[in-house]
Symmetry: D3
Subunit: 73 residues, 6 copies
């Protein structure tokens, strides 16, 4: 029965990846709960944090910086 709210850096996920994330996270939640009937009451929301607004350790980490750090660029 969970409500699952995901925050990602804006522009990091296209529509296909969002759909995949909704599908897989719902599956994961239902399995962890162990209640198949709860699937229809499982909501997932993907919110986007505008670039420049994500900070770790006191520093703003832009999407560009994340991509470089994660070997995506």
């Amino acid at each position: 029965m969970p409500l699952i709210q995901v925050s990602v850096p804006a522009g990091s996920l296209d529509a296909a990846k969002k759909a995949k994330m909704i599908e897989l996270i719902t599956e994961a939640s239902v399995t962890a709960e162990g209640i198949p009937a709860a699937r229809q009451f499982t909501w997932v929301q993907i919110n986007e944090v505008p670039d420049g607004g994500w900070g770790m350790g006191g520093q703003a980490i832009t999407l560009e910086m994340m991509k470089v750090a994660l070997g995506q660029k």
Copy 2:
């Protein structure tokens, strides 16, 4: 004294409907609490979830799909 955060699919509410929602939800909250003096400390925020990021039962439900399902189209 509540803080009320509303999430809606992006693009589903125009400015007039947002103003109406803020007005009516504040009224509802003050009535339920039963403390008229709390009105000025009642905040409402309406956040928009970008299209493609709203999932129910494991499936992404686009604004288009919602409108059809709710008989708005």
Copy 3:
């Protein structure tokens, strides 16, 4: 179709007031949206902020202080 998350000071609402708040806020949201069919997809969550964790203007405002300020005590 909104998801509505309400934050209140812990201990400020009993079960009856919570039920009333869920009922009235849902009604308000459906009216503002103007889509009766969206009612069943309207979720309300009431979260409680532990006492001492609510700050305004830089000052922690306890439930006791709120009650006095709002003429509830």
Copy 4:
């Protein structure tokens, strides 16, 4: 790199199920993103909504009512 915030009815998950949910949802998120290096920057938080504060369609649904509805009791 997502931050994932899960809301569940208070008392619905024990420590073992929470650990399982954290593990499986992280796995799901990393797979959907397709960036294994993002795992260490994936945070999951499980918040508990106090009983009586979860509403659907205008009605407060208690943990007891959920269990009956989902065939857990």
Copy 5:
């Protein structure tokens, strides 16, 4: 170890002010906790509420209205 989520009216902070806010809020959090080693695990997220969706006392307060009220215009 906190996660700090800041909501601001969309368009009220430019990139430089966001970076400053991330830096100063992280510093404030680490000082209040009193655990310097927690800095690297302190996350700050700045979310933007679309104009027209910020309500106080039942009224939508636009960015324009805020600027006038705060003497910024």
Copy 6:
């Protein structure tokens, strides 16, 4: 004018540290914004995540584990 929501592991901050965090984070926010008049409209909320519900990299990190990792024990 920001709303600032802080999530901490339940039990990690006593009342004095919460008051300090509210004071210092508000100060930081006002300084970053550069609008002293916004102070009274700055809200800070400190939410507590029940132990066992905080995950990093797929693993639940208990308060006990955090204290050891951060040299607090």
